[in-house]
C-alpha cells in the first residue's frame, strides 16, 4: 500500500509543478511573444499597444538614414512593397551589415506618435544569412539596384 501512496504523492507533486509551469509559460507567452510587423501589416492593423515589445522589419529606405543628435542616435525609415513606412530610432552600434537598402529587423516599441524606438537591430548576418522574418519579402531594393 505504501508504494501506492508514494506513487500518488509523486504524481500529485509532479502534476502540480507541471500545472504551475504551464500557467507560467502561458502567461509569459501571452505577454512576451513579440509579434512581427511590416509597414504594410502596420498600416492595415494600426499601431499595437504603446510600449509593448514588438518586432518590425523591412528594408532601410535608401537615403533615409540620419543622425539627428550628436551621432549616437540613428533614425531611418523602414519600407516594404507597400506605400506604408515606419520611422525607427535606435541608439547604439548598428549591426555590421546594417546599410541603406538592406533588410533589417528592429525589436522595440511604438510611442504615441507612431514612432518606433528600437532597442536591438538585426541585419543580415553574412552573405548567406538574413533574418528569417524577411524571407517572404523577397529581394530588396539593394538587390534590384545592383
Amino acid at each position: 500500500m505504501r508504494a501506492r501512496t508514494r506513487r500518488l504523492w509523486t504524481f500529485a507533486v509532479a502534476a502540480a509543478l507541471l500545472l504551475a509551469a504551464a500557467t507560467l509559460a502561458f502567461v509569459a507567452l501571452r505577454q512576451n511573444a513579440n509579434l512581427f510587423y511590416t509597414p504594410e501589416v502596420l498600416a492595415e492593423n494600426g499601431i499595437p499597444e504603446i510600449g509593448k515589445d514588438v518586432k518590425v522589419g523591412g528594408w532601410v529606405a535608401p537615403g533615409s538614414l540620419t543622425y539627428p543628435g550628436d551621432g549616437s542616435e540613428i533614425v531611418f525609415t523602414v519600407i516594404d512593397n507597400s506605400p506604408a513606412t515606419i520611422t525607427v530610432s535606435f541608439t547604439g552600434i548598428a549591426p555590421d551589415l546594417f546599410r541603406e537598402g538592406q533588410g533589417v529587423v528592429a525589436i522595440g516599441s511604438f510611442d504615441a506618435d507612431g514612432k518606433f524606438t528600437a532597442r536591438q537591430l538585426l541585419a543580415k548576418h553574412d552573405e548567406n544569412y538574413q533574418p528569417r522574418e524577411l524571407k517572404p519579402l523577397g529581394a530588396g531594393p539593394a538587390a534590384s539596384a545592383s
Binding site: 505504501r2 507533486v13 555590421d96
Partner: protein, 630 residues
C-alpha cells in the same frame, strides 16, 4: 589523400555496422575490436581533412569554401569543423571515440550487457556515418581547384570558438554512449546498481565537456559579438541548455539508482532523453527551421534526415522503454520526505525547466504554422525558467541533509527560519541600502544560501575538522558544483540587473562619462593582420586613480567581405569595463566614432561558477577510475 580519407570513412561505416550486429548478438570481445577499428580508421579519415586544410588544398570543396591561405594555422585546422559537413565528420569521430572508449573501459562484469551497449553505439555510429557519407560528404573534390579559398566566417576566427565545437560535441555525443547503455540495460531488463555505477561515469564524461563547451560559446558571444551580454536565449543556446538540464537531472537520479536501486525506469528514460535532446538540438540548429547564427545547412533535405534519425532512434528507444520499464525492479522503500523524495523533486523541476525552454524555443514554429510570425525572447524565459530554478535551489541546502528512505525532520524549522531570515536581511539591505530590485536581492540571498548550504553539508558529513580532508572526492565534487552554482547565480543576478550601458559618439580628442568612467578618444588608426585589416580606436578610461588604455577594433575580412567587432575589456576587481567600436558617422561636417560602453559587474563570477561546476563534475568522476587502476 582525401580519397584515402573518404575510403577510410566507408571502412569506419563497415566496422560500425559489424559492431552493431556483433554487439547485439552478444559478442563482447569482437564488438569491442570492431569499435576500436572503426574509431582508428575514422581518426585517419579525419586526419586527412585536417591535412587538406593545413595545406590549403582547395581541390577539396570543403577547404575551398571554408579556408584561406592567409589564415593562421590554428584557424585553418579549426576551419574543418567550422562548417556543416566538417562538423558532422567530427560528430562521427566523437561517436566512434566513445564507442572505442566504452570497449576499452567498461567494467561491469556483464559481457552480454556490454556487448549490447557497444552494439547500440554501433548502430548510432552507422546512422551518423551514413548521414555524413550520403547526405553531407566533406570529401568532395572541386575540378578545377580554385586558387584561393572563400575563408572561414570571420566571427569564428577566435580561440574560444575554435575549441567550442569539439567540447560541445564531446558533450552532445557523449550522451550517445549513455543512451546506448540505457538501451542495453532495457534490453537486458536490468537497470540496477551495477548499471547505474557504469552509466554515472559516462554521464559525467559527457556532462563535463558539455558544460565547458557551453561556457566557451557564451564567453565568445560576450566578447566577440559586442552586445555586452553573455546569454541571449537564442535557439542555439537553448539547444545546448536543454541536454545540459536533462544531463544534470540524470546525474542526480543515477545516484539514487546506484545507491538504492530506486528510480530505475526514470533514470533510464533520462539517459535516453539526454541524447535525444542532443540530436534535436542538432536538428533545430542545422535544419534552418529556426533563425540562428549556426544555421549553416539551410537545406531542407538534411533537416528532414536529421529529424528522421531523431524519430527512428527516439521511437525505438522509447518503444523499448515502454515495453521494459514496467518490469524493472524497484529499489528499497522510501517516503516522500527523504533523500529520494528530494532528488525526485530536483528531477521533476529540472525536466520541467527543460520543457519550458523547449516550448519557448519551438513556439515561434508553432505560431508560424498558424500563420503568425512571432518570436519569444528573454522576458519569457525570465518569467518561467528563473522562478522554477529559484524554488529548486531554495530548498537544496535543507533537503541535502536528508537521509535515504525517511528524513529526520526535527531540524527543518531551524533551516526554514535561517532561510527566511537571510532573505529578509537581503530584501531590507537591497531595497534600503543598495537600491537594487527586489528580484536581485532575492537572487543574491539565494546564491549565498546555496554556498552556505554546500559548506554546511561538508561540515555535517565530516563532523570533525580532521575528517574534512578525508571526505571522498565525490563529496567534494558535489560541494564544488553546488558552490559553483551559487557563484554563477551571484554573477548572473548582479550582471543582468546592475549592468550599465551607454552609447558615445566621439570625435578624436573628445570624451564622455559612463558609469563614473571618463573615456577619452585619443585617435583612430588603421592596422593590418594576416587576413584582415582594421580600424583601431585608442581610448583612455579614467576613474579616480585608475587609468586604462583600451583599444577596441573593427576588423574587415576581404576574403569573406565581412566586418567583425573586437571589443576591448578592462578587468577591474568588481567587473569589466567593456567597449565596442561601432561605425564612423559624419555629423555636422565632423567625423565621429560611435562606441558602445558597458560596465558588466561580476561577469567573471558567471564563468567562475560554471568552471566550478565542471570541476566538481570532474572530481566526482576521478575516484572511480583511481579505484579501478589501483
Amino acid at each position: 589523400m582525401i580519397e584515402f580519407g573518404h575510403l577510410a570513412a566507408f571502412l569506419a561505416l563497415a566496422a560500425s555496422l559489424a559492431q552493431g550486429v556483433l554487439g547485439l548478438t552478444g559478442a563482447r570481445a569482437l564488438a569491442g575490436r570492431a569499435a576500436v577499428v572503426a574509431f582508428a580508421v575514422m581518426a585517419l579519415s579525419f586526419a586527412t581533412l585536417l591535412v587538406a586544410f593545413a595545406q590549403s588544398d582547395f581541390s577539396l570543396a570543403l577547404a575551398a569554401n571554408n579556408s584561406h591561405t592567409l589564415k593562421p594555422m590554428i584557424y585553418k585546422l579549426a576551419g574543418v569543423w567550422g562548417n556543416h559537413e566538417g562538423s558532422m565528420a567530427l560528430w562521427c569521430l566523437v561517436t566512434l571515440g566513445f564507442g572505442a572508449a566504452g570497449a576499452l573501459w567498461m567494467r561491469t562484469g556483464r559481457d552480454v550487457f556490454e556487448a549490447r551497449a557497444l552494439g547500440v553505439q554501433g548502430w548510432l555510429a552507422t546512422g551518423a556515418l551514413s548521414y555524413l557519407l550520403f547526405a553531407s560528404s566533406p570529401y568532395l573534390r572541386l575540378d578545377p581547384a580554385p586558387l584561393q579559398g572563400a575563408g572561414l566566417n570571420p566571427v569564428l576566427q577566435d580561440v574560444a570558438l575554435a575549441s567550442h565545437p569539439p567540447m560541445l560535441y564531446l558533450g552532445y555525443v557523449g550522451f550517445s554512449f549513455v543512451f546506448a547503455l540505457a538501451a542495453a540495460g532495457l534490453i537486458d531488463g536490468r537497470i540496477d546498481r551495477v548499471w547505474a555505477k557504469e552509466a554515472r561515469r559516462w554521464a559525467l564524461a559527457a556532462f563535463i565537456p558539455l558544460t565547458i563547451g557551453i561556457a566557451l560559446g557564451s564567453y565568445w558571444a560576450y566578447y566577440e559579438l559586442g552586445w555586452g551580454g553573455w546569454w541571449f536565449w537564442d535557439p542555439v543556446e537553448n539547444a545546448s541548455l536543454m541536454p545540459w538540464l536533462i544531463g544534470a537531472a540524470l546525474l542526480h537520479s543515477v545516484v539514487v539508482t546506484e545507491k538504492r536501486g530506486s528510480f530505475a525506469a526514470w533514470t533510464a528514460l533520462l539517459a535516453v532523453l539526454a541524447f535525444l535532446f542532443s540530436i534535436m538540438g542538432a536538428f533545430l540548429v542545422r535544419s534552418g527551421v529556426l533563425t540562428s547564427v549556426h544555421a549553416f545547412a539551410v537545406d531542407p533535405k538534411r533537416g528532414m534526415l536529421l529529424l528522421g534519425g531523431l524519430v527512428v532512434y527516439g521511437g525505438l528507444a522509447l518503444g523499448l522503454f515502454a515495453l521494459r520499464a514496467p518490469k524493472l525492479e524497484g529499489g528499497k522503500p522510501w517516503q516522500m520526505l527523504s533523500r529520494e523524495g528530494a532528488l525526485a523533486t530536483n528531477n521533476v523541476v529540472l525536466v520541467v525547466a527543460a520543457l519550458t525552454v523547449l516550448l519557448g524555443t519551438l513556439f515561434p514554429l508553432i505560431a508560424e504554422a498558424t500563420g503568425r510570425t512571432i518570436s519569444v525572447g528573454e522576458p519569457y524565459f525570465r518569467l518561467t525558467f528563473v522562478p522554477m530554478l529559484a524554488v529548486l535551489l531554495a530548498v537544496l541546502p535543507v533537503v541535502q541533509a536528508w537521509t535515504w528512505g525517511k528524513a529526520d525532520l526535527s531540524g527543518v524549522w531551524k533551516w526554514a527560519a535561517g532561510g527566511v531570515g537571510l532573505v529578509a536581511v537581503f530584501l531590507l539591505l537591497g531595497v534600503s541600502v543598495w537600491d537594487i530590485p527586489l528580484g536581485a536581492a532575492f537572487g543574491l540571498a539565494l546564491a549565498l544560501w546555496l554556498i552556505f548550504g554546500a559548506l554546511w553539508e561538508v561540515r555535517r558529513r565530516a563532523v570533525t575538522l580532521a575528517r574534512v580532508f578525508r571526505l571522498p572526492l565525490r563529496v567534494w565534487g558535489m560541494t564544488l558544483a553546488h558552490i559553483g552554482l551559487g557563484v554563477f547565480i551571484m554573477g548572473a543576478v548582479v550582471e543582468t540587473t546592475q549592468r550599465y550601458e551607454a552609447t558615445l559618439a566621439l570625435p578624436a580628442g573628445g570624451s564622455g562619462t559612463v558609469a563614473g568612467w571618463n573615456i577619452t578618444l585619443n585617435d583612430v588608426h588603421a592596422i593590418e593582420g594576416p587576413n584582415w585589416y582594421a580600424d583601431k580606436a585608442v581610448l583612455t578610461a579614467r576613474k579616480g586613480s585608475i587609468k586604462a588604455e583600451m583599444a577596441p577594433t573593427k576588423r574587415y575580412y576581404p576574403a569573406s567581405r565581412m566586418p567583425t567587432t573586437e571589443t576591448a575589456i578592462h578587468k577591474t576587481g568588481a567587473g569589466d569595463l567593456y567597449i565596442a567600436l561601432g561605425d564612423r558617422r559624419d555629423v555636422d561636417g565632423e567625423t565621429r566614432w560611435v562606441f558602445r560602453v558597458y560596465f558588466n559587474p561580476l561577469i567573471d563570477f558567471v564563468y567562475l561558477g560554471v568552471g566550478l561546476m565542471a570541476l566538481g563534475a570532474f572530481f566526482s568522476l576521478v575516484p572511480m577510475r583511481r579505484r579501478r587502476t589501483a
